[in-house]
Chain length 245, copies 2
Amino acid sequence: MNRLASEPGAAQLPPVNPAEKPSFSVDLVIFTTYEDCLQVLLVKRAEAPFKGRWALPGGLLEPGRDDAIEGCALRRLVEKTGVEAPYLEQLKTYGSCDRDPRGWTATTVYFALIASELVRPRANQETVRWTPIQGEGVSCELAFDHARILADAVERLRSKLEYTHIAVHLLPKEFTLPELQRIYEMILQQPLDKSSFRRRVAQADMLEEIPGKLRDGSGRPAQVYRFRDYDRRTFFPRSISRYAR
Amino acid sequence: MNRLASEPGAAQLPPVNPAEKPSFSVDLVIFTTYEDCLQVLLVKRAEAPFKGRWALPGGLLEPGRDDAIEGCALRRLVEKTGVEAPYLEQLKTYGSCDRDPRGWTATTVYFALIASELVRPRANQETVRWTPIQGEGVSCELAFDHARILADAVERLRSKLEYTHIAVHLLPKEFTLPELQRIYEMILQQPLDKSSFRRRVAQADMLEEIPGKLRDGSGRPAQVYRFRDYDRRTFFPRSISRYAR
DNA sequence: GAAATAGTGTCTATCAGACATTATGGC
DNA sequence: GCCATAATGTCTGATAGACACTATTTC
């Protein structure tokens, strides 16, 4: 509040050299659950830099094509997975002069949750594949700063699982409570008490049961539920980790 | 996972027309507490568009000057306030073709908390000023989509107050518990129970008392505390709103 | 002593966590 | 009947919220 009374705030341009603009892209961390494991979608880079390495899907924002950042993220998500109505949330923006050897770049990263049942079979496992999350990331080396980005996304996902219901977006429209609990345990990597988990879900009042039942290979069939309101955000009063045994 | 096996993921390449890059800027929501009210720093726009309107401070990222986005935010914050070590956190990135009449722009917004005692007296109240937060924003009309951005920042601040200790960054290094409680009440806009508040702070074990005391105009003097660790993030097990009476 | 504010003590309704018990299917 | 899993019931220790009470200063 001392120097520069001259600075006109956000008053920018016209006379800005466009070559001095940083490149601006949108990247995606797309999660699903598959074979009892949290998985992330990776693509293999066909060009230098990091040619041949696995990376998060994404690409340059195209001002002539995308009206807004989120629209760009959604478009690329649909292109990659065919899923039209995913859970999509902005994670963070990463930008510096040294995260890409080609120069100053900024990328806004979104993370998405989709049910694996909705993903259409992939054409080419050589260039696009699901990769299981182990700990904070994946076992292979990723291009650019994508390992860091993925770690941030996994942390955000785990954190939000503690106090929201977003895990339902990893399941198809109809599911059972044991299936939902399994998602939580899989991602949080710890067993949860069944009774407490069900009490918590009931209190949130976010599910409605469907009079039909689902049978399993063995044991008593489980009640099938439907998510009541895909838009409303449910917040739990306490952290779910306290349900750990 | 079906169409385009051609897309090389984040592969972006040299031959992109720089004129098609969106403009990329960094904006700041700088909060302080002052005269018993949460305040935000606004600057008056000197140029069109929105000439004469109040706006959030910020400006274009300069790749030749800033190594990273956060560095750019910190530089502009120091320029505006003189505060060297603020609390600074990335809020969100807003980008679309219609948020600025001049064309496609993206802006990464940071929000900062500083103690009003640390701000050096401003040079020119005509172009830069603190403005009290009322409800979700300020009473005057803001330029661009800054009203929406400010509302998001206020919401984030209130939300984080519920489960973290970030309010200490709005106070000078040494303060009393009634002062800290007053900050919480001011921002959350509800009275809190003194006993519960103190129990909560004690459990977080984030403050250490200084054997000296602070006297007030009237009544018993209050113990002065110092924040134990400005880097460690303290999380509370429960939401603080439950302490409301 | 009165007023004002800081700080402590205590009671209680609530509830998370633990675990036992019952329910319902297949074989 | 047995096994496996789903679903419900019950007990208890911990604690948030409420509020009364004590402490320490100024006037």
